[in-house]
Amino acid sequence: MGRNVVAMILAGGKGTRLHALTKKIAKPAVYFGGKYRIIDFSLSNVANSSIDSVGVLTQYESVVLNNYIGNGSKWGFDGVDSTCVALAPRQTETGANWYKGTADAIYQNIDFLDGEDPQYVLILSGDHIYKTSYDQMLQLHVKSKADCTISVLEVDIKEASRFGILEVDSTDTITKFVEKPKEPKSNLASMGVYVFTYKVLRQALVEDAKDEKSEHDFGKNIIPKMLSQNKKLVAYRFKGYWRDVGTLDSLHQANMELLPSQRSEETINFDETPKIYSEDTNSFPEYIGAKAVVKDCLINQGATIFGTCTKSVISNEVIIEEGATVSKSVLMPGVVIKKGAYVENAILGPNTVIKEKEVINKDSGKIVLLDYERNLQ
């Protein structure tokens, strides 16, 4: 008996706009919120939707990400009949190919999907920050007897030209899809989250693979082609917090939105179940020193704070020494801020060391990134 739903998470992107953060790891493996990696959100959402089979499509710098995904136990996918597998490009009888696009990544793993034999396939991006259950979207897909359901976000019409925009009729059936339109006629932006009826998806992928002119991309090729074939595509209106952290500014901003002073009904609520799951680092408990000043911060276990820390997100194994000041910054695991140093509006990559009395980005107002090799962006 096949499965009802299999989730496929696209996690192969390079994330070039995150500069040194993605020099050796894929964007979905970048640290976020003091404790998490970006992909934890998608994988936790899948787990919390009672979907127990997931393939994670990795490509660029996949070693860390593949290792992190492991057998999926961090998100509970190691239970009976559960599957969590990293699917990197591989050599086949016809040769070895990189994934040429989002659709090609799924096509190259069609044997995985055939093996799972699902009724529906949920396709997600591994680099989005949001907390949801896909239950309602799946229910809508089944109820409306759609071939494909696309999760959409209502965006400011002025911003719409940055997104893939959907036009719908009065029943939210999709009538048109335009990738980054110059003059958008709708504010419904595709989130890159799709539910497909697998038989329809399979046929579309096979046809697309034979099309030499195709870029093998869901937004550019698969969706428009299905519309042209009069398939039924439906929009699912997502309500809630959702962020694409593709740039240093957006990554910094999304981290800052987690701070106590920024919390609202709009932002992610970690305290409400279901939870976002992540790796337990076996860190020692976090310690706040006798002379430390900590205000409006999110700090993970394993951190040790002796200095001043305000409006910042601090990861495990970070040390802020006495007399050092960290403000409006995101410190990834293993960062050390030596005595008397000052850091402002910065993202510090894993294991970066700021020397004694060194000043990073004071009063510039811009967000900077510094990594352990001292590359500054």
């Binding site: 106590p260 939870k275 337990d280 076996n282 310690y287 205000k295 999110l298 993970n300």
Partner: protein, 375 residues
């Protein structure tokens, strides 16, 4: 170490009064993140031992709930083995519900051909030890039984309730006595025994005919006094903490807090010797704009907007704006409402402090608040 089976002995854990009334010390929280059994199990994991039996005396739900998954402590959940040992026949009879009878009821490992040595270790005695070295010394001694001891200079004050031993020139146990409250310097037995599996197996038929051997401690005393079998004595030279009262629990917790930032990583906390525990998937700590936290340990899931000084806060504790918590240990899911002032308090799980209450202990005293109370 595939030829060793380790038994974590929850039968001889001391009582800490109300703190351990409804749970064993093994699953009692420590440092906001761990339970005491984590230290014993992490010693085993870090020593390469992954065939483990947990000898449960009572309150099994609390222990099993904490343990949750084999994967927390075992390097390999297929080749490793974590087994809960309960004395099902004697669990309702305190005279019969002893560690020795627990082994007799769950003696599966004694018939395991791979099991050459049995290591029995305590929970109430916290120390960081590489058991691989201890077992090597036991094998090298050629003896059938060994006991691990520590040389201390404050036996009566800090280790009352344990046994003291004397060691002869050959390195074997010459005498076993109970620690006297007046004792100063002494060699303290750490309730840690290494037995050749065959010798332990052979002892059981003989025990049926002996009326005053109920526990492992009794067995060792009997062997030392009435048999011609030597018990080898193996010295442990690091720091040993014995938790046998609420006050000791508090003092040791605060000492551990200070050890966390000791650059020498004295004894318990070093990066090379991880302490494993189950994850609760709690978020990092929120420190609000009015938080004022000094010299404290704060576990994930907490939300702090008040003043916290010299404290240990476990998971999901909330300290509201204007609340002051000093010199206290607050267990998980507790709430300190606005205007409350706590000093010298050990508050168990799910306690709530409201109405600007002041709960302040006398100097050197502690106030314990039971689980679930609203004050």
């Amino acid at each position: 170490m595939k030829n060793v089976v380790a038994l974590v002995n929850l039968h001889n854990s001391p009582s800490c009064g109300l703190l351990t009334e409804k749970r064993p010390l093994a699953s009692t929280t420590v440092l906001g993140r761990y339970a005491f059994i984590d230290f014993a199990l992490s010693n085993l994991t870090n020593s390469g031992i992954d065939d483990i039996g947990i000898m449960i005396k009572d309150h099994s739900r609390s222990v099993i709930k904490h343990m949750r998954s084999d994967n927390t402590y075992l390097k390999n959940s297929k080749t490793g083995y974590l087994n809960y040992m309960i004395n099902e026949e004697g669990i309702h009879n305190p005279f019969y519900n002893t560690d020795l009878n627990n082994i007799a009821q769950n003696d599966y490992f004694l018939y395991d051909q791979d099991c050459k040595y049995v290591l029995i270790c305590p929970v109430g005695i916290v120390y960081k030890v590489n058991y691989a070295e201890i077992i090597r010394e036991h094998i090298k001694s050629g003896k059938l039984f060994s006991v691990v001891y520590s040389k201390v200079d404050n036996a009566g004050k800090d280790y009352f309730g344990l046994n003291k031993i004397t060691v002869n020139a050959l390195g074997n146990v010459q005498k076993i006595d109970q620690v006297d409250p007046k004792d100063k310097e002494a060699l303290i037995g750490l309730k840690t025994y290494i037995c050749n599996s065959s010798a332990l197996k052979g002892a059981f038929p003989r025990l049926k005919n002996i009326s005053n051997v109920f526990t492992l401690d009794d067995l060792m005393l009997y062997i030392q006094r009435y048999s011609d079998v030597d018990i080898h004595a193996i010295e442990f030279k690091g720091q040993v903490s014995y938790v046998n009262s609420l006050k000791k629990y508090y003092d040791i917790s605060m000492r551990f807090k200070n050890l966390l930032i000791n650059e020498n990583g004295e004894d318990v906390f070093t990066n090379e010797w991880k302490i494993y525990t189950r994850t609760h998937d709690t978020r990092p700590v929120y420190y609000g704009e009015n938080s004022n936290v000094k010299d404290s340990i704060v576990a994930n899931g907490c939300t702090i907007n008040g003043t916290v000084k010299n404290c240990i806060l476990a998971r999901n504790v909330t300290v509201e704006e204007g609340a002051v918590v000093e010199n206290s240990i607050i267990f998980s899911d507790s709430v300190i409402k606005k205007g409350v002032h706590l000093k010298g308090v050990v508050a168990d799980k799910l306690t709530t402090f409201v109405n600007k209450n002041e709960v302040i202990a006398e100097k050197d005293e502690l106030i314990y608040i039971p689980q679930g109370e609203t004050i």
